[in-house]
Symmetry: C2
Subunit: 428 residues, 2 copies
């Protein structure tokens, strides 16, 4: 393959005309395909349907410690659900609180509490002139949405193949007391699928924050979300490392079963130090009498233990793996050597990250939309929706059927080519 940049103007124009003909043809089909969000497919949801049967009208809904799951109470979760999610999150059971159906909501609430009440006695953030968060980019749009909502200034931290640029992280965290947090998806990151290296985790654990209320917001959303049995990333456990480093209170770790059982009907959890959890429980007590214990019990009875989760995730992987591979195969076949884009090849998680030539991402997303393919908005992977290079696009291969996915990827590739040619021709 010749790189596009090495083609003459005439060669580009000729190429363009052929591609445009194909594009017009596909556009005429009036397709509607969605690669925008990390939603499991119907086939994946079917994997958990038997969870609907584990609690029937004849079931005993009393949990291990004698609590009737149907009634009020149980502020921080039933013991067996704590055990299940603690094992999944690789932390002691007593360092876990079980919440409702959304870890995003737990993260939102954690920031909201800091805004109005501070963190372990610090000044409430709403009383401060300036609060800043570090945002590894590209990253998860809903994280950035929370900090933007609360008027928190977001600072881009470039991702590297081993995690966020730790020189920058250390500089900001250790020197600026206005920096109160950093958003992390440490395993199979959203959208790149990068897992933080051991050294990155060690450096996180050994930060010396200028702010006593600085916290690492460690969203371990994809902790058991491998695509392969024989090729898996491994992430060092952050709570243990922070404790060893003398920073036991410096991290909040979030997770949920949203992409394990049913998105929206799963259970979420937060793991943190005793001191952090004590404070959170005391505030939660004002907010709720307790989360849905019946659903907690349903999850425990279905998965039984963490091994049940691991086995279940293999079934998800069997459905997801061919989809990831299909997209990457088309990318390699169609875009390899053209030097108009690069992409990640993750071993887990829900996304492939694509980088176009600078200044092309918005146009590619718009082009694909013309032919009926919805992608995550260009810029969404950056705070304030502003990608300084206008180059990153998040690809979510999970939701479409394999047929839809191939078609959508073809359209995407075509869009990349057309926009890149326009860019090289100086039309953008």
């Amino acid at each position: 393959m010749t790189a596009y940049k090495d083609l003459s103007r005439d060669e580009l124009l000729e190429l363009k005309s052929g591609l445009e003909a194909r594009f017009t043809e596909i556009k005429a089909k009036g397709l509607k395909l969605d690669m925008s969000r990390g939603k499991p497919s119907a086939e994946q949801l079917n994997l958990s349907m038997e969870m609907m049967d584990v609690l029937n009208s004849g079931a005993n809904l009393t949990c291990e410690d004698g609590v009737d799951c149907r009634n009020y109470g149980g502020l921080d979760g039933i013991a067996e659900a704590k055990q299940l999610l603690a094992d999944m999150m690789e932390v002691p059971k007593d360092n876990v609180i079980i919440f409702g159906n959304s870890s995003l909501n737990v993260m939102y609430d954690t920031v909201a509490r800091a805004m109005t009440h501070g963190v372990l006695g610090s000044t409430p953030w709403c009383k401060l002139d300036k609060v800043k968060f570090l945002c590894p980019v590209p990253g998860y749009d809903r994280h950035f949405g929370i900090t933007e909502h609360f008027g928190i200034e977001m600072i881009n931290i470039p991702m590297t193949p081993t995690g966020p640029d730790m020189d920058l992280v250390e500089k900001y965290v250790n020197e600026d007391p206005a920096v109160k947090g950093i958003w992390c998806v440490p395993k199979y990151s959203n959208p790149q699928g990068i897992t933080y290296s051991d050294e990155t985790v060690f450096r996180f654990a050994n930060l010396k924050p200028a702010a006593e209320d600085f916290r690492i917001y460690w969203d371990n959303a994809y902790c058991v979300h491998h695509l392969y049995e024989d090729k898996q990333d491994y992430l060092i456990e952050i709570l243990t490392e922070c404790k060893k480093a003398g920073n036991p209170d410096m991290v909040y770790k979030f997770s949920s079963t949203s992409k394990i059982s049913f998105p929206g009907s799963g259970i979420a959890a937060l793991a943190a130090s005793d001191a952090n959890l004590k404070e959170i429980r005391s505030m939660m007590q004002v907010q709720t009498i307790g989360h849905d214990k019946v659903n907690q019990l349903r999850h425990v009875r279905f998965f039984k233990d963490v091994h049940g989760i691991v086995e279940h995730m293999k079934k998800h992987a069997d459905i997801l793996r061919p989809k990831f591979e299909a997209v990457i195969d088309i990318f390699e076949k169609e875009l390899g050597g053209l030097e108009i884009g690069s992409w990640t090849k993750p071993l887990g998680g829900y996304f492939i990250s694509f980088d176009s030539m600078d200044g092309c991402a918005k146009a590619i997303v718009a082009k694909a939309k013309e032919a009926g393919v919805v992608l995550t908005g260009a810029g969404a992977t950056f705070p304030y929706g502003k990608d300084p290079h206008d180059s990153n696009i998040r690809i979510a291969p999970s939701y479409p059927t394999p047929e839809e996915l191939s078609l959508a990827t073809d359209i995407f590739v075509l869009s990349v080519k057309l926009v890149s040619i326009d860019k090289l021709l100086g039309n953008l």
Copy 2:
């Protein structure tokens, strides 16, 4: 019966000695009885067990508008759940948002949002020097807990047999721009079981708040929670009245199925004007991808429609009614004419409110505890836990079995008598 106050010192001492002997006898039994919280009994929870069967592994979990309830999405609830709760709340379906398992959490979030973001463009409350809430007393401790948590100053408003003292409410709301809200349980109020009269509701709807961001926090927790079929309180619908009065945005109405299906595993709802809901949705969108739609569908498939809820509530009433009557019978038989206490006789809800002689409530609760009966802490029905007369005690008859309840009420009555005698003897 001779009123205790008309007995001589010697008569009181003699009475006391007999009562103390009985108390010692009962205390020796080492009982453990709980009349502290409005928890449904196991028998009531059994009424909803068939809800566990309506969604099994063979069920179609697609809702009316084609949404797969198992997946992400559906920020403000599935259409059929909105219809069900709208009918129960007597509001149009489009004026309802369905939330997670806890209306308390919805109320907390509503105040939390006002703290950090204000209400429809007003100054965020955390930026104000002073924010005040009116608190009809006696009232619900968890309401007061929310406002106390956010440092909001609470002002006691005495309850009357027709609702809060509206002269006082009008004075505060219409004159003081720092007054941003009032907590109301308008039907079968907690703890008195009072339902606001038509005139009270009209006066609420016609308030002329000094603060543009003043809202009525209308917690209609007991909207369908009647004890009798032939004797029911009727409450005028507040959203309609506010609209008629030109105050469409002035009220947030809360409800849930916590005491209809399973406490902690029900669904909650908020009803409000279009403008209020638009703002709430836009903020919710940052907080969550959506609440548990599977549980929403489970509720709809079980109850079918509001008539299903009404029929279901008759079964709850059949279990609750004898308990309320048993407590009130014992009160009338044992305390009638003694002039050492008065109590309410509600037609619905979850509580009986007891008023002792001034300065006796704390001592009564402590005395009952000695014999193993846990009551809601004296003072809990007032902001900051401070009952200015130390006289109100909330009785929750729902949770104990009928046998336990009789025993607990006997102990309570005995405690009232003993403490009242001490009060009259000048020993308190």
